[in-house]
Protein backbone atom coordinates (compact mmCIF):
# COMPACT_ATOMS: atom_id res chain seq x y z
CA UNK A 1 0.00 0.00 0.00
CA UNK A 2 2.88 2.38 0.75
CA UNK A 3 4.20 2.08 -2.82
CA UNK A 4 0.71 2.75 -4.18
CA UNK A 5 0.25 5.83 -2.02
CA UNK A 6 3.66 7.20 -2.94
CA UNK A 7 3.11 6.54 -6.65
CA UNK A 8 -0.31 8.21 -6.63
CA UNK A 9 1.03 11.16 -4.67
CA UNK A 10 3.83 11.73 -7.20
CA UNK A 11 1.52 11.20 -10.15
CA UNK A 12 -1.11 13.49 -8.66
CA UNK A 13 1.44 16.27 -8.29
CA UNK A 14 2.66 15.76 -11.87
CA UNK A 15 -0.95 15.69 -13.08
CA UNK A 16 -1.47 19.29 -12.01
CA UNK A 17 1.40 20.43 -14.22
CA UNK A 18 0.15 18.84 -17.44
CA UNK A 19 -2.71 19.17 -19.91
CA UNK A 20 -5.63 16.93 -18.93
CA UNK A 21 -5.02 13.97 -21.24
CA UNK A 22 -1.29 13.93 -20.52
CA UNK A 23 -1.94 14.14 -16.80
CA UNK A 24 -4.33 11.20 -16.87
CA UNK A 25 -1.76 9.22 -18.86
CA UNK A 26 0.87 9.88 -16.19
CA UNK A 27 -1.48 8.63 -13.51
CA UNK A 28 -2.53 5.60 -15.53
CA UNK A 29 1.12 4.67 -16.07
CA UNK A 30 1.92 5.11 -12.39
CA UNK A 31 -1.01 2.95 -11.36
CA UNK A 32 -0.14 0.25 -13.90
CA UNK A 33 3.45 0.20 -12.66
CA UNK A 34 2.38 -0.31 -9.07
CA UNK A 35 -0.25 -2.92 -9.92
CA UNK A 36 2.28 -4.82 -12.06
CA UNK A 37 4.73 -4.99 -9.14
CA UNK A 38 5.05 -8.68 -8.21
CA UNK A 39 5.61 -7.69 -4.58
CA UNK A 40 2.17 -6.11 -4.42
CA UNK A 41 -0.26 -8.56 -2.96
CA UNK A 42 -3.63 -8.53 -1.28
CA UNK A 43 -5.47 -6.94 -4.22
CA UNK A 44 -8.00 -8.92 -6.21
CA UNK A 45 -9.27 -8.07 -9.72
CA UNK A 46 -12.02 -5.88 -8.30
CA UNK A 47 -9.57 -3.96 -6.10
CA UNK A 48 -7.29 -3.39 -9.09
CA UNK A 49 -10.16 -2.09 -11.20
CA UNK A 50 -11.09 0.25 -8.36
CA UNK A 51 -7.54 1.59 -8.08
CA UNK A 52 -7.55 2.26 -11.83
CA UNK A 53 -10.93 3.98 -11.60
CA UNK A 54 -10.43 6.29 -8.61
CA UNK A 55 -7.95 8.75 -10.20
CA UNK A 56 -10.34 9.72 -12.97
CA UNK A 57 -13.21 10.45 -10.59
CA UNK A 58 -11.04 12.14 -7.97
CA UNK A 59 -9.13 14.41 -10.35
CA UNK A 60 -11.00 14.63 -13.64
CA UNK A 61 -14.72 13.98 -13.16
CA UNK A 62 -15.39 15.88 -16.38
CA UNK A 63 -13.89 12.92 -18.25
CA UNK A 64 -16.31 10.39 -16.77
CA UNK A 65 -18.61 8.42 -19.09
CA UNK A 66 -20.49 5.12 -18.93
CA UNK A 67 -17.62 3.22 -20.51
CA UNK A 68 -15.48 3.96 -17.48
CA UNK A 69 -17.95 2.14 -15.25
CA UNK A 70 -17.82 -0.78 -17.71
CA UNK A 71 -14.25 -1.45 -16.56
CA UNK A 72 -15.55 -1.95 -13.04
CA UNK A 73 -18.37 -4.28 -14.04
CA UNK A 74 -15.98 -6.24 -16.25
CA UNK A 75 -13.95 -6.88 -13.10
CA UNK A 76 -17.01 -8.42 -11.47
CA UNK A 77 -18.40 -5.47 -9.51
CA UNK A 78 -22.19 -5.25 -9.44
CA UNK A 79 -24.16 -2.00 -9.58
CA UNK A 80 -24.41 -1.62 -5.81
CA UNK A 81 -20.67 -2.03 -5.45
CA UNK A 82 -20.01 0.45 -8.26
CA UNK A 83 -22.34 2.92 -6.57
CA UNK A 84 -20.53 2.47 -3.25
CA UNK A 85 -17.11 2.90 -4.87
CA UNK A 86 -18.22 6.24 -6.31
CA UNK A 87 -19.74 7.30 -3.00
CA UNK A 88 -16.58 6.52 -1.02
CA UNK A 89 -14.37 8.33 -3.52
CA UNK A 90 -16.70 11.34 -3.48
CA UNK A 91 -16.88 11.32 0.31
CA UNK A 92 -13.13 11.41 0.72
CA UNK A 93 -12.72 13.97 -2.04
CA UNK A 94 -15.13 16.14 -0.06
CA UNK A 95 -13.25 15.57 3.18
CA UNK A 96 -9.91 16.29 1.45
CA UNK A 97 -11.22 19.63 0.21
CA UNK A 98 -12.71 20.45 3.59
CA UNK A 99 -9.38 19.80 5.28
CA UNK A 100 -7.26 21.62 2.71
CA UNK A 101 -9.74 24.45 2.30
CA UNK A 102 -9.65 25.41 5.97
CA UNK A 103 -6.18 24.31 7.06
CA UNK A 104 -6.88 21.07 8.90
CA UNK A 105 -3.52 19.34 9.10
CA UNK A 106 -1.90 16.33 10.62
CA UNK A 107 -0.78 16.31 14.21
CA UNK A 108 2.37 15.12 15.96
CA UNK A 109 1.03 11.67 16.95
CA UNK A 110 0.82 10.85 13.24
CA UNK A 111 4.31 12.09 12.40
CA UNK A 112 5.77 8.57 12.25
CA UNK A 113 3.55 7.21 9.49
CA UNK A 114 3.50 10.51 7.61
CA UNK A 115 7.29 10.71 7.45
CA UNK A 116 7.49 7.03 6.52
CA UNK A 117 5.21 7.71 3.54
CA UNK A 118 6.43 11.11 2.44
CA UNK A 119 9.68 11.90 4.22
CA UNK A 120 10.74 14.51 6.78
CA UNK A 121 10.96 17.40 4.32
CA UNK A 122 7.34 16.99 3.31
CA UNK A 123 6.30 16.77 6.96
CA UNK A 124 8.11 20.00 7.77
CA UNK A 125 6.53 21.66 4.73
CA UNK A 126 3.14 20.47 5.93
CA UNK A 127 3.68 22.00 9.37
CA UNK A 128 4.50 25.34 7.73
CA UNK A 129 1.45 25.06 5.47
CA UNK A 130 -0.79 24.58 8.52
CA UNK A 131 0.20 27.88 10.05
CA UNK A 132 -2.32 30.69 9.52
CA UNK A 133 -1.05 33.65 7.50
CA UNK A 134 0.37 36.45 9.60
CA UNK A 135 -1.59 39.71 9.58
CA UNK A 136 0.00 42.74 7.92
Amino acid sequence: MIKLVQALDRAGARYTELPLDDGLEVITSAVDAVLDDPDLDGLDDGDRAIVRFVPRLALAPRTMHSGVLHDLTEAGLDDTTVHDVVQVCCCFSYMNRLADGLGVGQTEPNRAWATKLYGEARWEAHLKWKQPAQDG
Partner: protein, 80 residues
Protein backbone atom coordinates in the same frame (compact mmCIF):
# COMPACT_ATOMS: atom_id res chain seq x y z
CA UNK B 1 -4.06 25.53 13.86
CA UNK B 2 -6.96 25.97 11.39
CA UNK B 3 -7.20 29.10 9.31
CA UNK B 4 -10.55 30.22 10.72
CA UNK B 5 -11.54 30.95 14.29
CA UNK B 6 -13.63 28.19 15.77
CA UNK B 7 -16.22 28.51 18.55
CA UNK B 8 -15.88 26.57 21.78
CA UNK B 9 -17.37 23.10 21.81
CA UNK B 10 -20.25 24.32 23.98
CA UNK B 11 -20.62 27.83 22.57
CA UNK B 12 -24.27 27.27 21.65
CA UNK B 13 -26.87 24.68 22.66
CA UNK B 14 -26.78 23.24 19.13
CA UNK B 15 -22.99 22.98 19.17
CA UNK B 16 -23.09 21.43 22.62
CA UNK B 17 -25.36 18.70 21.31
CA UNK B 18 -23.16 18.14 18.24
CA UNK B 19 -20.01 17.74 20.35
CA UNK B 20 -21.61 15.99 23.32
CA UNK B 21 -20.36 12.49 22.53
CA UNK B 22 -16.73 13.64 22.38
CA UNK B 23 -16.98 15.68 25.59
CA UNK B 24 -18.68 12.79 27.35
CA UNK B 25 -15.77 10.52 26.44
CA UNK B 26 -13.28 13.17 27.48
CA UNK B 27 -11.63 13.38 24.09
CA UNK B 28 -11.18 16.36 21.79
CA UNK B 29 -13.32 16.74 18.71
CA UNK B 30 -11.16 15.51 15.80
CA UNK B 31 -9.80 18.31 13.66
CA UNK B 32 -11.74 17.36 10.56
CA UNK B 33 -15.01 17.47 12.53
CA UNK B 34 -14.07 20.47 14.67
CA UNK B 35 -13.51 22.57 11.55
CA UNK B 36 -17.28 22.39 10.99
CA UNK B 37 -18.15 23.91 14.37
CA UNK B 38 -19.29 27.12 12.64
CA UNK B 39 -22.14 24.94 11.30
CA UNK B 40 -23.31 22.24 13.73
CA UNK B 41 -25.86 21.18 11.10
CA UNK B 42 -23.08 20.48 8.65
CA UNK B 43 -21.11 18.65 11.32
CA UNK B 44 -24.03 16.34 12.07
CA UNK B 45 -24.88 15.82 8.39
CA UNK B 46 -21.29 15.04 7.42
CA UNK B 47 -20.97 12.65 10.34
CA UNK B 48 -24.10 10.87 9.17
CA UNK B 49 -22.85 10.80 5.60
CA UNK B 50 -19.52 9.36 6.67
CA UNK B 51 -21.20 6.64 8.71
CA UNK B 52 -23.57 5.78 5.85
CA UNK B 53 -20.98 5.77 3.08
CA UNK B 54 -17.72 4.83 4.79
CA UNK B 55 -16.30 3.50 8.06
CA UNK B 56 -17.87 0.15 7.31
CA UNK B 57 -21.21 1.65 6.28
CA UNK B 58 -20.95 0.65 2.63
CA UNK B 59 -21.15 -2.81 1.06
CA UNK B 60 -17.44 -2.64 0.16
CA UNK B 61 -15.92 -3.72 3.45
CA UNK B 62 -13.22 -1.80 5.34
CA UNK B 63 -10.41 -3.06 3.08
CA UNK B 64 -11.87 -1.52 -0.06
CA UNK B 65 -13.06 1.59 1.73
CA UNK B 66 -9.53 2.18 3.05
CA UNK B 67 -8.09 1.47 -0.40
CA UNK B 68 -10.30 4.11 -2.02
CA UNK B 69 -9.83 6.59 0.82
CA UNK B 70 -6.06 6.26 0.68
CA UNK B 71 -5.87 6.48 -3.11
CA UNK B 72 -8.20 9.49 -3.24
CA UNK B 73 -6.33 11.38 -0.55
CA UNK B 74 -2.94 10.63 -2.09
CA UNK B 75 -4.12 11.90 -5.48
CA UNK B 76 -5.58 15.02 -3.90
CA UNK B 77 -2.29 15.56 -2.04
CA UNK B 78 -4.23 15.77 1.19
CA UNK B 79 -2.01 15.07 4.19
CA UNK B 80 -4.89 14.76 6.58
Amino acid sequence: MPWIKLPDDDATPELSRATASYRKEGRPVPGIMAIMKPSPKAMRAVNQMNNAVTFGGSTLGRHREELIATATSALNDCFY
